[in-house]
Symmetry: C2
Subunit: 416 residues, 2 copies
């Protein structure tokens, strides 16, 4: 282990033990101080951000990349509001999950505690820095943050401002660490230190996540992609199905919970698909269809096998006619990404079969896939959406950033 | 991927989808059939087990190894009873964890579902085979089992008997798979297939577990070791402290929840340690002490730094005098294995500080560390004790073998 990594990890571990001493009141006060500091020091942060923007332009990076990198008064305001919102959420730490009294008189409790040290690897989006600091601090976790290299000046500036605010609010030890050595080797080193780091959350594109999973010896919670489906059942209300399909594709196509493939029962395809095409045409959505789809609606592109597993994140959709509900479920389990899938149907047995048979984090009935979201679920905030099955599945709120311990109190009991 | 692994995984995945169709009644009936079959077919199983015993003896393997490998009428009876007990436990699958109605009318539920395909890697202990089959089947998970090479005939025999019983009870598809290719390459191959296998549980010694963690791309829940502590506080009841220390070390020294290090507050060491030594001497326990301990009780071995991290699993104990409660907590967090640690004290604030400050799965007050156990906690059965922090911590029962999905039902809602 390099000296740099060793120092970082020892400090992070030590902080993680001190974190358990903080009260909810102390944490909420510090969150409000941090929120205010982002506004007060916006001049400094924006100045540093301009350096990163200039570097990105010099490298001729894509405009969409620069958009995500760029900070503004408006974006800083949003970051500040997010921190204030996290301060208002209930603190899960210390809450009792279960309690029982054993026949031998031992009182047993299962209590929520922080996970410990959490390593977040993300892309060049400086707003993620303050979001993660807020969520991890509220749950008494120590964060190690490694944002995209090109955002280093912005991230350093935000970190400095947040750290000063924490200090001013009375927090006497570091509660998060920014990895300022931006070489790949440092990240790889950190990913192997499972005795110091308890969890890794990679946030970004599929290739970043695959790389983290390949290298890490530490448990990873990840979100590979969102290949979400809508199945329009034979027993669907056609108007609802049209509204839901349009909303799920068009309202915000660039996000993971937008729909990518629409499966249509053959018994309703002849009626539904022409109406869907007219709608999609009016919104400029490109359609790619299976053979049967193209027999019903002509003039659209052919869908290949690759389409069924593709997250377009764009105004493109693939369409497939299926013979049965079971075929729809099979298709989703084979090609989907276990993220979010919705059935449109008036049949309760079909809805029940769908939500039982589809192996996804979120199984919906008669609603848009776009509802797969921590805020929509009432979790208050969200650090991401897990497509994994262990620990956290679907939208991850504050509770998903905690673990538990068993506490047992007795009066001298021994085992016989 | 080899043809063998590919076939195995495709079948396992297919079974995992069929599992969601089984009712609790069907599962319990099959568990009882399996329990009975182990008794009825004991002649066949014991005959096959003899082949493994002969092979182990030929290889001059240790007697303790052969003891774990050997089956008997008594052990088969125990295996059978375990399956019947699992049949009697409540089925966690399908139970509702939370439910809410969102302001937009969407009904949201979080429901327990199987994890999917679980790969268990274990040593040459054939009783583990039927235990794992029972627990995974009850939770509607598909098991892939890879037991120690030398137990292959026993494991094949048990699998055959269980499979016949499952069929007879009406289960029409395979619900578990025994890896019969016992080369290391096959295990390594399986450990990389994270699109087919959802969870790996290694059961065995630390080296087996480290190897699995090094190779696996699939989430692993593991139990490295149990370096458990007892801290005898200044405010301890000396009689209770003596009883607890003796029980935790002597009652069954070979198990993970026995105590390995006893920390004694300096304010009570002069009084406590000589009494403890007399007791330990009478039970033949070898003591290794720090400098201060050896000033109080002479004639014991010196403890080195290595002792503080050692799981003896034997009638050996290390002893250390500490100046404060905080020093005890620091020692445990530095050298412990996050398994189980107990404080003996009459001070409630000290007890509270201990259970908050110690970062272990089980934090106990005034009881023996030996209570860290699924049955003692009322979980009914246990697949292991996790020293990890994610998904499952401490004793793992049936619930810990499940995950959840979000189910949302609406009436055509779209996002605006």
């Amino acid at each position: 282990m390099s000296m740099y990594v060793n120092n970082l990890l020892r400090q992070a571990k030590e902080s993680s033990f001190l974190m358990t001493g903080l009260t909810t009141k102390q944490k909420n006060k510090a969150l409000k101080y941090m929120a205010e500091a982002l506004i007060k020091k916006r001049g400094f942060i924006l100045k540093e951000n301009k350096k990163d923007i200039a570097a990105a332009k010099k490298l001729k990076l894509k405009q969409s990349f620069i958009d995500r990198l760029e900070l503004s008064d408006k974006r800083l305001k949003e970051m500040s509001i997010s921190l204030k919102e996290v301060a208002c959420l209930p603190d899960p730490i210390g809450s009792r999950i279960t309690a029982s009294k054993r026949p031998n008189g031992i009182k047993l409790e299962k209590v929520r505690v922080p996970i410990g040290v959490v390593f977040i690897v993300y892309e060049a989006r400086p707003n993620v820095t303050s979001d993660c600091v807020g969520l991890l601090f509220k749950t008494s976790n120590v964060g190690i943050l490694r944002g995209g290299t090109i955002a280093i000046n912005s991230n350093k500036a935000i970190s400095r401002v947040l750290r000063q605010a924490l200090k001013k609010s009375g927090i006497k030890f570091p509660v998060f660490f920014m990895v300022e050595k931006t070489n790949r080797k440092t990240v790889d080193e950190l990913l192997r230190e499972d005795s110091y780091i308890d969890l890794v959350i990679p946030r970004g594109g599929e290739s970043l996540i695959r790389k983290v999973v390949e290298t890490s010896r530490i448990p990873v919670i990840k979100h590979y992609k969102g290949v979400c489906h809508i199945f329009v059942d034979k027993a669907a209300d056609i108007t609802k199905a049209l509204n839901i399909c349009i909303n799920a594709k068009v309202q915000r196509p660039s996000v993971c919970n937008s729909v990518e493939t629409i499966l249509v029962h053959k018994g309703v395809a002849g009626k539904f698909l022409p109406q869907l095409k007219r709608k999609f045409d009016s919104f400029g959505v490109r359609m790619r269809g299976c053979l049967q789809t193209r027999k019903i609606i002509s003039g659209i592109e052919k869908a290949s096998k690759i389409d069924w597993g593709t997250e377009y994140l764009d105004l493109i959709v693939s369409l497939k006619v299926v013979s049965t509900l079971e075929d729809a479920i099979k298709h989703i389990n084979l090609y989907g990404s276990r993220h979010t899938d919705s059935i449109v149907t008036n049949s309760i047995p079909n809805a029940d079969r769908f939500v039982k048979g589809v192996d996804s984090a979120c199984c919906f009935v008669n609603i848009s896939t776009r509802f797969s979201d921590g805020y929509q679920f009432g979790l208050g905030a969200e650090i991401g959406i897990s497509t994994d099955k262990l620990h956290a599945r679907g939208p991850m709120g504050l509770e998903e950033l905690t673990t538990y311990k068993w506490i047992a109190r007795g009066s001298g009991q021994i085992r016989t």
